[in-house]
């Protein structure tokens, strides 16, 4: 590890103010590897290949094969090894190439990472970060298009993050690694090429609270991750119609920021929840149920959901687009909540 410790001590390179989501993810990884020698990255093709989505490109050269570890195709074993390494004092960042393959590691995530602390009576904290790409929209068909982050948010003992902005992509990893418990970070595949501004120090970026991405008084659009751009798009279209939509980015799917949800309902009294998961059992259902419980008497209209159609994602572009929650459906739902049926 000596070579990499030397690397860790070398001064950081100044980061540009505007960058892509991909570069922001990479800068976050690089900073984490520089800052703490207990941190290492492992996963399929994170090293020599440069990362399936080119996120970790260059890190192997900089940090060496001990800290940027290519793994065999063994999702269960390397996720479990990440848990074990965390128990052993390291701060692993495990990359599961995409959420679709994470099903192979679900036993490790639910039965070990999420439970060890509790079933050991508080002894076994698991300071592990698991990153994965999520989402549809790139014509990858049924086995490569899942959006399961909301589903993962069902599991007690883990934290679920969904950075939707370049700034969040850059700055959520640090607090995730500082968290003593397992954190899952979902990066939507359609965001990697998005560009945006990165704040110099990430001040104000936490892994606990939702963020209002656009203020508005008529209706709240609550979303996260890959659908945020579509919601912002919808908000622009709604503004043209004279409807001012507030767009709330949940950012953290577990635990949900109840205060932020309550606050936006209190401002607008109308809500559309948008996410890319299948509708039944989506995180939108949970948000809707919480609004029912917390803010029922505040509502001027029933909460609407705009989610993915309940189909294994089809390959054909027109079918996939029809299956996904996009601006027209969001606009229509918002309109219904404001103007009725």
């Amino acid at each position: 590890m000596t070579a990499s410790i030397a690397a860790a001590l070398s001064p950081d390179v100044a980061e540009p103010a505007t960058t892509t989501y991909r570069e922001a993810c990479r800068a976050a990884l690089r900073a984490a590897l520089l800052a703490d020698e207990r941190v290492f990255l492992m996963g399929e093709d994170v090293g020599r290949y440069g990362g399936c989505f080119a996120v970790s490109k260059g890190l192997l050269d900089e940090f060496g094969p001990e800290r940027v570890r290519d793994t065999p195709l063994s999702e269960s074993a390397f996720v479990g090894a990440g848990i074990g390494a965390a128990l052993g004092g390291l701060r692993p960042i495990v990359e599961i190439m995409t959420v679709n393959f994470s099903l192979l590691a679900l036993d490790q995530i639910m039965n070990n990472a999420a439970t060890l602390l509790h079933m050991s009576g508080g002894q076994c904290a698991v300071p592990l970060v698991i990153r994965m790409t999520t989402g549809a929209g790139r014509q990858l068909a049924a086995q490569h298009s899942h959006s399961l982050e909301g589903w993962y948010a069902h599991i007690p003992g883990i934290r679920v993050l969904t950075p939707a902005t370049v700034d969040d992509a850059r700055w959520m990893l640090g607090p995730a690694l500082a968290d003593p418990d397992p954190v899952l970070i979902f990066e939507h595949g359609s965001l990697y090429n998005a560009s945006g501004v990165v704040s110099p120090d990430g001040s104000g970026i936490d892994i606990a609270r939702a963020a209002v991405r656009r203020p508005g008084r008529d209706v709240s659009i609550v979303t996260y991750g890959g659908t945020l751009p579509h919601c912002l798009d919808a908000a622009v279209r709604l503004a043209d119609e004279g409807i001012e939509a507030e767009v709330v980015d949940l950012r953290v799917l577990r635990p949900l920021d109840d205060a932020a949800i309550r606050a936006t309902v209190a401002r607008t009294h109308r809500v559309v929840v948008v996410d890319e998961g299948w509708r039944s059992g989506s995180i939108s259902a949970e948000v809707s149920a919480r609004i029912m419980e917390q803010s029922f008497w505040e509502l001027d209209a029933p909460v609407e959901r705009v989610c993915s159609a309940e189909v294994p994602m089809p390959y054909a572009r027109h079918l996939e687009e029809a299956a996904l929650p996009r601006a027209p459906a969001i606009v229509a739902a918002a309109r219904r909540t404001v103007r009725g049926g």
């Binding site: 090293g47 086995q143 490569h144 054909a316």
Partner: protein, 327 residues
Amino acid sequence: MTTGLGIDAVHGEHLLREMLRIRRFEERCVELYSETKIRGFMHLYIGEEAVAVGAMQALTADDAVVATYREHGHALARGLPAAEIMAEMFGKAEGSSRGRGGSMHIFDVGRRFYGGNAIVGGALPLAVGLALADALAGRPRVTACFFGEGAVAEGEFHESLNLAALWNLPVLFCCENNLYAMGTRLERAESEVDLTLKAAAYEMPAWPVDGMDVLAVERAAGAAASSVRAGAGPHFLELRTYRFRAHSMYDPELYRTKAEVEEWKERDPIGGFVARLGAERLVDDARVAAIEAEIAAELDAAIAFAEAGTEEPVEDLERFVYSEGVR
């Protein structure tokens, strides 16, 4: 009349044509991909044609095939019409999976071609189950299961081999060892790189085969398949091959040298086979040109078919999530 190669001209030409069809089909696919007619992930089989073509010779129409996301070659060699495969990649209703599967999910149940599976290792249990169905029904069929050497690291590989061997099921495991799983070379994925030893740990007969030599593959697959069919339980072939192209359309190939690729290209399964056929006077340049022309025509027609294909109506989006009219 058979020759020093052990085959006659008709069969030699057949093997050559099948390999060429795959090669040319995929070359067209690359063009169509840049034209964005084809989208999503697309994985080329170029360089590995001898494997699918050689192995398919061992199968009858009743046998089953299970493959991966890199399955254009298997689909073509299994007899799926190029037009339907192409239409599938165009996302058209006339495609083999009605445009719902794309490049990674070519299906044709009539030809017992069970996909097209994009989870590494995920189709091995399916092959075991298909074979179980045959075994329980007493049908002397073989299920050929193709997968890359990368799948060997997956738990599903291990569980599937054990189950097939334990229950003596008629599966022919065809491991396409092209040395890389995306950018990860076998040595960086397996502590023991002799893959036949993996099968040995399940008491399964296993042997390595030169996957660049279509005749060697045909011979090995033939022997293994008859043994499987005769009730000797599953067999394992390690087919040593190489992919000449990138892993998928997004791969900058940082993990291997151009020289290494060039070296392997010298063992091109098609070029080499043409030379051998030529040396035995089983084909000549004119014949090869004629075959090429026929294939070009077939592919022109396939592309035209795909272009002319229709889109599934958007209202049908939720079809095929559950079976129709039977509940």
